[in-house]
Assembly symmetry: C2
Homo-oligomer: 334 residues x 2
């Protein structure tokens, strides 16, 4: 299939263009009329690195490529805008697989109100999707960076943790799910294969006055540390308050891991971690509930200092020192 | 080298951010304050498809990845804005090669006034650069689509044709350059390896009232046809007026091709083809000359009808029927 055929195939599947797009796919560049500020992010997934072709249905791959990119805009609290995709197609990519990829990608674009405004198609040795997402805001201050958290702010988290990591383990070793209900096992696999960007919750948190926000692609330990360092503060998280997804505890036991570590450091949950002035917590909770997309849980507070502390119910203390897991520092702190 | 090291390396090399960037690389998304309209394009190059690693210096590869993307913005007449890059790094990419790639990329960004505002780095089986470019305008109508050409408009072309195609042949078969001066041969190779986006000329043509514009990545036959079809018109081009780059004739003879075909259909010259109302030609010529980036040549006119005709000095007629070359239709038209 040549590039022109691919372009026609893509264009035939495009949903109607969004209100900001004056000139969509097919010219040298897309022309848009942006808001007073834009948030732009690029993200790529490659077969063999971020997913395994054949393991997941192609719809799920197309969907995940866009979902992980949109998660970055969710973490800014941006309004829906435009997406652009570079598709690197290997020689053995058949029409059916391409159609299914595009279906998954476009279904999520439509569901989230984003317009596919341009793209490029090229041959490549491995299936590659490089996605550019553009969100809008009335002014730059309406978008939430990682860097504004203040000591005294409360820390809130959308949704539940550990589901994607447990789903990854379950896909690799199906026998780990023997003790789970089919619904729970399916839920965990979907958390891994079909993450959902928390766009509505992100806008709610931004509108409620979030001072800093980040999406959890690398896990609470790693991304919490990113937020803490960008803001020049420390985070104190109560382990007992962390909402773990159903089935995470059982999977963790099956691989002899601490459920808390799997939940806090597993990554790929794409939930949002945000800091809020305490007097904005009620409004944030109300706004997130109104969107009815996911839950909001208070998990700790912002403190002066640095790093991320995870306080255990028994009085122990774990600390994120790198970006991949929490370590015990109880012996030092006593 | 891990992703974090790569990110630090990239960030250390970033030039100062442009005036529209409020939050650059390092957060979930870049925050910009756009103009009244934006032009956005994505473009990717892959080792083994668009270039051959090892043949060209890595600086030239980094430069070309950005140059070909910016050429699309040149064809819109857009003001400088932001660029974003996804770098797919194969396992054997060494630090020196990466540094040189980034040097070439960033040198062109700086030279053209664009800010690198974000990126993503990933492992990939082949070196891949997916580039997103965003240009600005005060309002959508300041940007020039492919679709506005009117019968009676004059057709103008920046620079010279055939140099990139001749350079490609010369790189493959160095002996073809035996009859050329070293300066001419070097010039042809550079046209292939280091194309220059005609951003200044594009803005000049837009300001002078160009009705349609396109950059010549596929050649005059293919891209002329794109413009003609988008505008619903025909193009009539005088072959005698086409400016061929120095050395193209000699290389064409060496491979037993018609120099005109090599020039008109070789592709990768990244010059601009534009349509202008006749009364705007003088202003366009003056503005392009003021930028002093390249020349402007009148090569024909826009006519009612369809397709692209190339009129030969002897009275013959060639026609672009597909996107790859001109065909003789003299026998039909007599």
């Amino acid at each position: 299939m040549g590039e022109f055929e691919l372009l026609v195939r893509l264009r035939d599947r495009l949903p109607p263009v969004g209100p900001r797009v004056r000139l969509g796919s097919g010219d040298d560049a897309a022309v848009t009329v942006p808001g007073g500020a834009t948030a732009t992010s690029v993200d790529a997934i490659v077969d063999g690195v971020h997913f395994r072709r054949g393991e997941a249905p192609p719809q799920a791959i197309g969907r995940k490529a866009l979902a992980t990119a949109l998660s970055d805009l969710a973490a800014m609290g941006a309004q829906a805008g435009e997406v652009y995709v570079v598709l690197g197609a290997p020689p053995d990519l058949e029409e059916d697989e391409l159609d299914a990829l595009l279906d998954g990608f476009l279904a999520l674009a439509t569901a989230t109100g984003f317009t596919l405004a341009g793209g490029d198609l090229t041959r490549a040795p491995a299936l590659t999707l490089a996605v550019t997402v553009v969100g809008h805001a009335q002014q730059p201050d309406d978008l939430v960076p990682r860097s504004g958290a203040q000591p005294g702010d409360v820390l809130v988290l959308t949704g539940e943790l550990g589901g994607a990591a447990a789903g990854r383990l379950l896909l690799d070793r199906p026998e780990l799910g023997d003790e789970l209900s089919e619904a729970t096992a399916t839920g965990l696999r979907r958390r891994q294969l079909e993450p959902t960007p928390r766009l509505g919750a992100g806008r709610s948190l931004a509108a409620a006055g979030a001072t800093a926000m980040i999406d959890l692609s690398d896990g609470l330990s790693g991304d919490g540390l990113h937020l803490a360092r960008a803001s020049g503060v420390g985070l104190r998280i109560e382990a007992a308050s962390l909402p773990l997804a159903e089935g995470v505890a059982e999977i963790a036991v099956g691989v002899k891991q601490d459920p808390l570590q799997l939940g806090a450091s597993g990554g790929e949950d794409y939930e949002l971690l945000a800091a809020l002035p305490p007097d904005r917590l009620e409004e944030a909770s109300r706004r997130v509930a109104e969107v009815a997309e996911t839950t909001l849980t208070t998990i700790g507070e912002v403190v002066a200092g640095e790093g991320v502390e995870l306080r255990l119910p028994g009085g122990g203390l774990l600390e994120s020192r790198g970006y991949d897991h929490f370590e015990d520092r109880s012996s030092e702190s006593r």
